[in-house]
Symmetry: C2
Subunit: 198 residues, 2 copies
């Protein structure tokens, strides 16, 4: 992807985070990105093309801010870090999170978004599940838990809490506290439940 295409998609994420997917007009995007509308049509064909590309771009962005930073940590610490990183009040995380939530909400009405959304969601679940398995190998998570179910629940909870955070139904601190305890519940349950009597 060219630098110019990335520039357009970065602007698209900003516009979606500000006005929603349904507020994304090509003229507005062109102004925000500082390019012509013709260039946008040239690279992304049409408005649905821009929205789909923005969805994929958000996914790459999220991977970049959640990726390299903790590569050397133990799997359990990375897992907690990755999930909690989604609930963070820095400009880019907040913008990405709002845009991602808005794309999810739009996919209820815009059926073209469903397949890329599902692919992206599955990829996220698989990443989290892989980390849980690695943490199991490292002895930091009990081997009896259903790793796929734990990953799906934790990512769905992140989405539910993010929406409450962005609508001010919950404070960011409370959302992080609830998520931290959820990780503990998901990953440490059998360790405690099957602890041999002292």
């Amino acid at each position: 992807m060219s630098e110019r295409q990335i520039q357009i998609l970065e602007a698209a994420v900003r516009v979606i985070a500000q006005d929603g997917v349904r507020g994304l007009r090509i003229e507005k995007l062109a102004a925000e990105a500082g390019v012509s509308t013709a260039l946008i049509y040239y690279h992304f064909k049409d408005r649905p093309g821009v929205v789909r590309a923005a969805l994929e771009h958000i996914n790459h962005r999220a991977q970049s801010y959640t990726g390299a930073a903790m590569a050397d940590e133990a799997a359990r610490a990375r897992l907690e870090g990755l999930l909690l990183l989604e609930l963070q009040d820095t400009g880019q995380v907040r913008e990405t999170s709002i845009a991602w939530g808005e794309l999810r909400a739009s996919a209820i009405f815009d059926t073209d978004l469903r397949e890329p959304l599902r692919t992206t969601t599955d990829a996220w679940n698989t990443d989290i599940e892989s980390l849980i398995r690695r943490a199991q190998d490292e002895g930091a998570v009990d081997t009896a838990i259903d790793t796929a179910a734990a990953a799906e629940r934790l990512t769905a909870l992140v989405e539910g809490l993010s929406e409450r955070w962005h609508t001010h139904s919950i404070t960011l601190d409370r959302a992080r506290e609830l998520l931290t305890d959820a990780i503990h519940l998901e990953l440490d349950r059998e360790v405690r439940g099957t602890r041999p009597p002292a």
Copy 2:
């Protein structure tokens, strides 16, 4: 509230579930409800007035389908029933759930919706928390758990799973299975964790 007002709000929920909050136009709503636009303005003042009233109406609707049916059951069974009832493929539940999700998503951009959304969310959390406490009194849930946190996590998970269901990122059966296990994890953890040695 008059029967005519209810008729208008029922139509509003249908339109929101079909086209989103941002697709709700007064002309369209009038056609759907079979009333004049003047009558809608008379009862609800303006479009934001309709949207806020629809949000409250959805809340009442949800209470009606989750309320009376299980009044005689034990608190634990009611609690599980109430939460799982939100993930059900019947016309009214599905429509209510889509409209409720769409109102949540809209409140990110429409700040006027935040306060009624927060009130409604808090009321739901409090209802679930009360049932958890009653289940504790009945000996069906350990007394050591943080009831407020468990309620908040379970309702946020219902919202996260509902959105995945409506966007076809997850099947309804899988969503129900994940929620059932989450309830078990939240409510039975300390019971197992502190079980005395045999």
